[in-house]
């Protein structure tokens, strides 16, 4: 089945919208049952979480725990919820291998809370697969272009 960049873009925009709206259960369904979600440390963007300290290195069960936590009112950092606005560009399909495709894109995410705006800038390196004709994310990797999380301080939202 041929997958076009337009389809991938539509998917990424929908994903961003679900995250901006805080519809995390629906977001989680966009990922495969064996999905991973990773955010490398800013000084080791090409590291492997098995031997390098990351900021986030979730397997599917950890992703589910994260989604659950983010909807708990005792997840103080996101209650009351921050406002976010996600912007995605430079979308490219960089590799196709059967039903698996590697997609790169750039992102800018604004997070607003306490009338302070923090900006997360970086690059997505996602692996998509086709599951029963549906696009899903198997490996979701957000590589920050930032040199540090100063002043952003946290990745309490899904970036």
């Amino acid at each position: 089945m041929k997958i076009t960049r337009e389809q991938v873009e539509d998917f990424l925009y929908m994903e961003a919208d679900l995250l901006d709206q805080g519809r995390l259960n629906e977001w989680a369904q966009l990922l495969t049952e064996d999905a991973t979600y990773q955010v490398p440390s800013t000084d080791a963007p090409n590291g492997d979480p098995k031997n390098t300290l990351f900021l986030v290195a979730d397997n599917r069960s950890r992703i589910d725990s994260r989604v659950k936590r983010l909807q708990n009112e005792y997840c103080h950092v996101e209650f009351p919820r921050s406002r976010t606005s996600r912007h995605i560009s430079n979308v490219r399909i960089v590799k196709k291998n059967g039903d698996s495709i590697l997609v790169n894109a750039n992102f800018v995410i604004y997070r607003m809370r306490y009338e302070i705006m923090d900006t997360y800038v970086g690059k997505y390196e996602h692996r998509f697969v086709l599951e029963k004709g549906q696009l899903k994310i198997k490996n979701r990797k957000s590589i920050l272009a930032l040199e540090s999380l100063r002043p952003q301080s946290k990745v309490s939202i899904i970036i």
């Binding site: 098995k50 990351f54 306490y114 952003q152 301080s153 946290k154 990745v155």
Partner: protein
């Protein structure tokens, strides 16, 4: 500004311990802290394992100063101030690397990695009295305790070992977890918090906040199949000289060396092996504490070593009264088998750091404190009295915070006395 000894009030009759909130918002106080604390105390720079080979270096900010931690040709380490003695530019602008020399980008002065000035282009223009030896890089006094390198900008300061005092026992429980020594693992978490630096120190040894502030973490542990009903049980202690610790039993697993069922049967054998090695090498009590007990250690003023579900070194440097830069590293045994290293890093991320299931809620609480201090004209005091009436404090008491503040007040009063004397 109040005098420093009016900012921390201890009333043992009434079991009241109060800290004035100006200590968190006043820029004059931060200025004094930079002079009386960050320029007088031993401040953590880095771990020797970060520069394992001759000519390795790392650069970072320590006590507000740009420094380079280098290892010279003979294997000795040096903490050099990262500034050209000519006109001030950083002589090294990389985060880390391996180099025998540093070449200033501005006028190409060059320095050896022990700080010696070796190259000045067109030196003849300086005339006959020019002496390169007077223009070596500034090397700060720097000592290591079992791999932990500290710097002191006060040439008259006591030795690092004397300074660490009772905290050494707790550092040993970290430094001796492996017969091969310990190492900082690649990748560091660099972040900031919009709060006063002292709030993070307090938070790191504050057992009282855990149950509510980290309720979602305990839920995560329950989902992971753990029984958390017995909670977190242990003691809090001031170690004197400003250092403080909590040591306790907790439901989570420890890479060295407490197994939990969700790690699987294979891991059980691995963890038992580690425990056996500890019991053979160390005395029984030390091995037991290393394997079964957790410790959050606060080395005065700005080093935290949390030996919990994973092992982290964390430093924090004030940027302004209401902002600090934090850097956190993971520490593990040298030559740790792949599967154990992977588990150590995985358990680290369950709790610790900007993307963990706990640290972000700590950050939120500290930032909320800082925002709350806007009310200071009316609400002026922090209450840190919890457990003062007790002989022995628990992790949920605040004796370990009082230990910090007593030392803080002592150091902050010193300048005042000398000022009075000089008047």
């Amino acid at each position: 500004m109040k005098n420093a000894n009016e900012l921390v009030i201890e009333n043992k009759m009434k079991n009241k311990f109060l800290v004035h909130r100006s200590t968190f918002v006043d820029s004059e106080i931060l200025k004094m802290e930079r002079e009386n604390i960050f320029s007088k105390c031993w401040i953590y720079v880095g771990h020797e394992s970060e520069i394992p080979n001759p000519h390795d270096y790392v650069t970072r900010k320590v006590a507000g100063r740009a420094v380079i931690l280098t290892r010279d040709a003979d294997g000795r380490f040096h903490t050099l101030l990262n500034t050209c003695t000519h006109r001030g530019a950083l002589v090294c602008r990389e985060e880390k690397g391996n180099s025998k020399t540093f070449l200033c980008c501005y006028h190409a002065w060059s320095f050896k990695n022990d700080g010696e000035l070796i190259g000045v282009p067109h030196q003849a223009a300086y005339g006959g009295h020019f002496d390169k030896k007077e223009l070596n890089m500034y090397e700060a006094r720097s000592e290591s305790y079992k791999g932990f390198v500290f710097v002191n900008f006060d040439k008259n300061a006591e030795s690092l070992e004397d300074y660490l005092g009772n905290a050494k026992e707790y550092l040993d429980l970290v430094a001796e977890q492996s017969p091969n020594g310990m190492e900082v693992i690649g990748g560091s978490q660099k972040y900031s918090i919009r709060a006063n630096w002292k709030l993070l120190g307090e938070n790191s040894i504050d057992g009282y906040h855990a149950a509510h502030n980290h309720a979602t973490y305990f839920e995560f542990l329950i989902d992971d199949g753990l029984d958390v009903s017995s909670g977190v049980v242990g003691y809090g202690k001031s170690l004197e000289n400003g250092h403080n610790v909590v040591e306790y039993k907790a439901p989570w697993g420890r890479p060295v060396a407490k197994w939990i069922p969700s790690w699987g049967e294979e891991a059980r054998l691995e963890v038992e092996e580690i425990k056996k090695e500890l019991e053979q090498r160390l005395d029984a009590e030390q091995a037991f504490r290393m394997a079964e007990r957790n410790r959050n250690l606060w080395i005065f003023p700005n080093l935290i070593i949390n030996d919990i579900m994973s092992l982290t070194i964390r430093t924090f440097d004030p940027v302004s009264p209401d902002s600090m830069d934090v850097t956190a590293w993971a520490l593990g045994p040298k030559d740790e088998p792949e599967s154990l290293r992977a588990r150590r890093l995985d358990t680290f991320l369950t709790f610790i750091g900007p993307g963990g299931f706990a640290t972000p809620d700590d950050i939120e609480s500290l930032e909320a404190c800082q925002l709350g201090f806007s009310t200071m004209p009316e609400v002026q005091w922090q209450d840190i009295s919890r457990g003062m009436h007790k002989e022995e404090a628990t992790t949920t008491d605040e004796e370990q915070m009082r230990g910090f503040w007593r030392r803080w007040a002592e150091l902050m009063s010193k300048e005042k006395e000398s000022e009075v004397l000089s008047k």
